[in-house]
Symmetry: C2
Subunit: 274 residues, 2 copies
């Protein structure tokens, strides 16, 4: 039995989301989900106060009864809690799989920097609210059941990491930024103007010295500006990769959508590649 603790380091989910995800989990007899009550708390923008979110995350990570910790939702907030929560993690956290994306990348980054457990860029329970969102949630339930069909298809002999562009840009040079030398870094973005995407790549690529390459996931729901930017997101990524001599490896099958594939960090789960 794979026991999965779900907490919300960023924004809250509703009981309805939890119930619909539990209903899907009934199809996976090897999986047991437990939603921490903190998932439903509220404090302004966040799923409870900073202290409540630190407490819930540390509790889930340190409970040896769980095999995995799954972030319920993104939306911003992990930056306020991850450093303190990691400081409270015990040895029980080290064997766990941690799943998140979007703002949850702040947790994945900090875990990977500290070499705690296995960070996995993956859909979250809140994705059930997307049209057709069941397929995204099932991809994670399948992965946790041992299926490998949901893995991002470009994964090869390189260690990898995957992040939302803004989220990783905000980690650069700070105490949660993982070392990514030798890695292929997969980047996706959503709901930004292209000029902001360009600005974020300006910043991020200045911090990616030594990476093996960059892949661009989907850049969805691009905001319109009063002027056309003049090139698309892939041209932006190519521009900044070229500027910093980072090999551009093409597209990645990740994004803020139901097709968002699973990216275990490093070389995890790829037999023969380790």
């Amino acid at each position: 039995m794979v026991r999965v603790a779900i907490c919300a380091p960023s924004r809250a989910i509703t009981q309805d989301v939890a119930q619909r995800v539990q209903a899907l989990a009934a199809d996976y007899p090897g999986i047991e989900l437990q939603f921490h009550p903190q998932c439903f708390r509220s404090a302004g923008h966040f799923a409870g106060t900073d202290a409540e979110r630190v407490e819930a995350l540390a509790e889930c990570a340190n409970d040896s009864g769980f095999d995995a910790v799954w972030a319920a939702r993104g939306g911003y907030g992990a930056a306020r809690v991850v450093e303190d929560a990691l400081g409270r993690f015990t040895a029980a956290a080290e064997q766990k799989t941690f799943l998140a994306y979007s703002d949850g990348g702040t947790l994945l980054g900090g875990l990977y920097r500290d070499r705690i457990g296995l960070p996995v860029h993956a859909p979250m329970p809140s994705d059930i609210n997307r049209p057709g969102g069941e397929v995204a949630v099932r991809r994670v339930l399948g992965y946790l059941s041992g299926e490998r069909g949901g893995l991002e298809p470009s994964l090869d002999h390189h260690p990898v990491a995957a992040f939302n562009l803004t989220t990783l840009a905000m980690l650069c040079g700070g105490p949660l930024m993982p070392g990514l030398a030798g890695h292929v870094v997969l980047i996706e973005e959503v709901s930004e103007h292209l000029y902001a995407v360009d600005r974020l790549f300006f910043h991020l690529t200045a911090h990616l010295g030594g990476v093996a390459g960059l892949r661009l996931g989907r850049v969805g729901d691009v905001l319109e500006n009063d002027i056309e930017f003049g090139c698309d997101a892939e041209a932006i990524a190519r521009h900044w990769c070229a500027r910093h001599a980072i090999p551009y490896h093409g597209r990645a099958d990740i994004g803020h959508d139901v097709a968002n594939k699973i990216v275990p960090f490093g070389l995890a789960g790829r037999e023969g590649a380790q």
Copy 2:
């Protein structure tokens, strides 16, 4: 006679903007403005291609017939040209005053890091388009004429620097980031969600070790989210300053508005303070 070259490292201005600013300058007999033709060029989002903007900026900086270089407008684009332009600056640039704000802070940051000339956070010609914008443009023309009434009122014995929050956050840890130890850093923002302001402060404050303090300018035109953030921009600034033991010095009189006061970097222009 103070001769001022105007170019556009970011977005373009119209001939109408140039004419209205020139009309105001007629009231300042000690000031002569020259708009570089590049100000009116267009290449997608930008005031000409990256190469054209590098060329115009280097030309203005290296022309010993000018005493000051004034950025025409912000809006994003300086990140694509400043490093290359600075690499082409000659000794003629070292005696000049450089005026900009918003995206132009990328230029101010790079200049200050390289100790080239005097960077000044100040209104730009494009501010003439704001209601009552003449007062902002006149503030700069007065400053260049030797008036000191337009200086930001908190300036004291500390060296200072002023930036847009997003702009400085994108410089952190990169090749254009100036050393700000011992400085009071003035920060303003516009047109962002409060969660994004919080996220930017999370990032920025991790890079401001050793500063003497932080002052918060105006955080204007805050975008509405689907949920109230729960605290205001000043509470956000205080939170992140406390987290990093940065003294919070209160408010600053800068922002994306016509009241935006003038901040010469370092201790420039403050007799007795140097």
